[in-house]
Amino acid sequence: MKKLFFIPIFLMLFTTGCVPKSIIDDINIEAASAFDELEDDTFIGTVLIQEYLPDQSTENKTFTATANLRRDLLLNIQRQSSEPLHLGGLMVTIFGDKLADRGIIDFVDNYQRDPSIGARNFLATSSGSALQILKGEYGPRGNSDYLNNLIEHNMRYRDLPETNLHIFIRDYYTKGKDPYLPELRQINNKEVEISGLSLFKKDREVHVLPTEKMFFFKLLADRHSNGSFKVDLGIDKEAEIKSIASKRKIKLSKKYPSQVVIHIKIKGVIPEYTGDKITPQIVKEVEKALEKEVNKECLSLVKQFQEQGIDPIGFGFYHRKQIRGYDFKKWEEDYKRLTFKIKTDVNIVETGVVE
């Protein structure tokens, strides 16, 4: 008899204890979004939704609205969407040129606050309209998958240094380091490319690094796991170095705290060589040439950052961490006086399958 007492409790539990559901086919899962500034304090946003069709292909659907606040934007878009809009599936967010120049931390902070948004979200800036990028048609797997994979493989195997929502926020909040994001450009309605790397001062875009420099930037800021690079050895002699794995170490010189020593170690393979034959001597030559080039380019990069007053590599951070009791207020001044020394160590381990 006593146990019968539980039956009404359980019945009530099932009728009133339920939480609102979000059944996957009854919701619209936001897959990508883009924001841009219209004029002062109003911005326009586009949300991309992937409709999965019965024939396994994907249809891109976009909703666009304008608002003063990001939350308003979402509300405005909800009014257009046939099913409730959920943010949990977000993969890529693109910020328009103007907005990036003005500062994007409000948006990013909102993302951080929202527990349904994953930390591995990709953020990107756009050269030109951010909204247009989402409105293209990039193949049957859907636009957000396309953009997501585009950024992901470039980070993993190419010259794009790793960034995502977590890394952006971490860098933004690190004293003495500025964040960076990939920049996308729509070539035409069916193609998008990575057109460079946006460098930020705090949350404002100040400079776009061209793609040629991104290899060197990644050497400085991150580590390569599978990069490739071409080395010119004079007329008719070109070597391509592949499967580059790099590591870098940043130390402050012990004698002069104002000198930063960057030690870059590169390991690679030469599968392609346009000259006659690869001799150990040529390998040495290639190594030397690469070392020289890396030294030169990297130095010019860090010098450029110094001039622009941005610090995407995080020299300030290293100052803070490696000098005991460092007063970070001095950093702005110290940065201007900083000198750099770059040591590169290239090691070609393999020269392909034929001699």
Partner: protein
């Protein structure tokens, strides 16, 4: 035969006992009078024709009674060449003896005494290979319905004097013989006493199978988990007796009970001991995963699709959404529908003759499955999941436990619907608590996981080689923990302690 049986049936005694009055109503109750040819003693045979073996009477009893020296009842022991001859003056045992297939012999000169001669007809099924616990390797004998034969199967595997067999008669109507088996000097006295006490306390009218005993002596009869293991393999019984457990053999049941048991035993097949330990461990792990899979996969499907779409990898999202696009039902109803369909198929298959049952399985599986997907009632992803879960549940070596697993899926489903993943963990906690609380003959059911016993873990998820298992399970609290002479083992190899 009828000739002499019906000869002088009408000669009855003047005052009949109670048992006689009742038994006379049955047509197979027989009483016939004879005269010994040497001493002219009149004697009377009373028996139940359907219970006795005519051949024994015709060849092994009657000729000696008619032609031998028969003056007093005591002479029977000399003349009749049967071991089981008993003379008694106790009126109360008469009906029991007769109903057990004895013939009663009375002589007019000794009205107060009766002789009972064993002439039971043994209708025995021949031994067949085990059907439920079939194994590719290992003995192919299974228990049958006859107690004597079952005991014989066990005895011949353990021909030592320490194997004790104690018999009880249970059931006020069925008078079922129940034998309790244990190894003296190994099995814990407490366990033996608990079993004996519980068996002797059983009050029930008709015990037709060992599963009645399971339900009557279990620690918690409200639990969906079986707490006593039943097996049809004599080799398994011999194995567990040697470990120090107790076996309960019930007459008329081809399933012998094992007590006490732990949860893990329900998921270990006896074949594990015939295989190399690496293979056996691998299969055990697979079976363990299958159980978890079978229990959790449909609830997880419901939870994820109803609440946690964020969890779905982006490559899978399209597949899932596409498969569910046309389906009008929410995931929980979809899942319940399919789970119930599978249960229907299983139930229908079990109730039908083997051949028809197979057809039902195939027809049901293929036709209903495909049709319901095409009709847009269920998604094909869920169909795969449910079918796999059902398949996984059948890997459980003990049939009863497989049923439990399938039943438990439903509360998990309901909690998954209620609170998503949180609900699944919650349901799991309830199950866990129940299992911790559960005992088998007062021994913790979850052992060796809780209470954790490292030595018993050697034969739990994995089965370590025999040379690592020199000790009997700790939870049985056996009197003698060593399985074999440690000295001999250490002479051969440098192992253990």
């Amino acid at each position: 035969m009828k000739r002499w049986l019906n000869k002088k049936q009408n000669e009855t005694k003047p005052n009949k006992a109670d048992w006689e009055k009742t038994l006379e109503k049955s047509n197979d109750f027989t009483r016939s009078n004879y005269i010994n040819q040497k001493s002219n003693v009149h004697f009377c045979l009373t028996f139940i024709a359907t219970l006795v073996d005519e051949q024994i009477i015709q060849q092994g009893v009657l000729p000696y009674l008619l032609e031998g020296e028969l003056k007093t009842l005591e002479d029977i022991k000399k003349t009749v060449p049967s071991a089981d001859v008993e003379i008694s003056n106790d009126q109360t045992v008469i009906d029991k003896k007769i109903l057990n297939g004895y013939i009663m012999l009375t002589i007019d000169s000794e009205p107060e005494h009766f002789a009972f001669i064993a002439t039971q007809k043994e209708i025995v099924r021949s031994l067949s290979p085990p059907e439920i616990e079939f194994s590719v390797i290992g003995p192919k004998e299974a228990f049958v319905e006859s107690l004597g034969q079952n005991l014989n199967l066990i005895r011949k595997r353990l021909p030592v004097k320490e194997l004790i067999i104690e018999e009880y008669t249970l059931g006020s109507l069925s008078q079922t013989k129940v034998a309790v088996l244990y190894m003296e000097g190994i099995t814990n006295e407490d366990n033996i006493n608990t079993v004996k006490q519980r068996i002797s306390e059983v009050e029930f009218d008709a015990i037709t199978d060992s599963s009645y005993i399971v339900q009557l002596i279990s620690d918690n009869s409200n639990s969906p988990f079986p707490q006593l293991l039943d097996t049809e393999r004599p080799d398994r019984i011999a194995g567990i007796l040697a470990e120090g457990k107790i076996a309960i053999v019930v007459d008329g049941s081809p399933h012998v009970l094992i007590a006490p048991t732990t949860l893990i035993e329900f998921f270990s097949s006896f074949e594990d001991y015939f295989l190399n330990w690496i293979l056996a461990s691998f299969f055990r792990l697979i079976r363990g995963c299958a159980v978890l899979f079978s229990l959790l996969v449909t609830p997880i499907y419901v939870a994820v699709l109803s609440y946690h779409y964020e969890l779905i990898p982006k490559d899978l999202l399209g597949t899932l959404v596409t498969s569910r696009r046309q389906i009008p039902l929410p995931p929980i109803l979809e899942a319940l529908f399919l789970e119930l369909t599978i249960e229907l198929l299983r139930e229908a298959g079990a109730r039908l003759p083997t051949k028809v049952g197979q057809t039902i399985g195939i027809v049901g599986g293929i036709v209903i499955g495909t049709a319901s997907v095409e009709a847009g009632l269920t998604s094909n992803v869920l169909l795969i999941i449910v079918a796999l879960a059902a398949l996984a549940s059948f890997t459980t070596p003990v049939y009863k436990m497989g049923n439990t697993i399938r039943l438990l899926r439903f509360p998990f489903l309901i909690f998954a619907e209620l609170w998503g993943l949180l609900g699944i963990v919650f349901a799991f906690c309830i199950m866990l608590t129940h299992l911790i609380r559960l005992t088998s003959l007062g021994r913790p059911f979850l052992e060796p996981f809780y209470p954790p016993r490292a030595t018993d873990l050697k034969d739990a998820f994995i089965r370590l080689p025999f040379n690592k298992q020199t000790l009997r399970p700790l939870f049985l609290r056996t009197k003698n923990r060593t399985r074999y002479n440690k000295k001999k083992a250490t002479e051969k190899k440098d192992i253990d302690e």
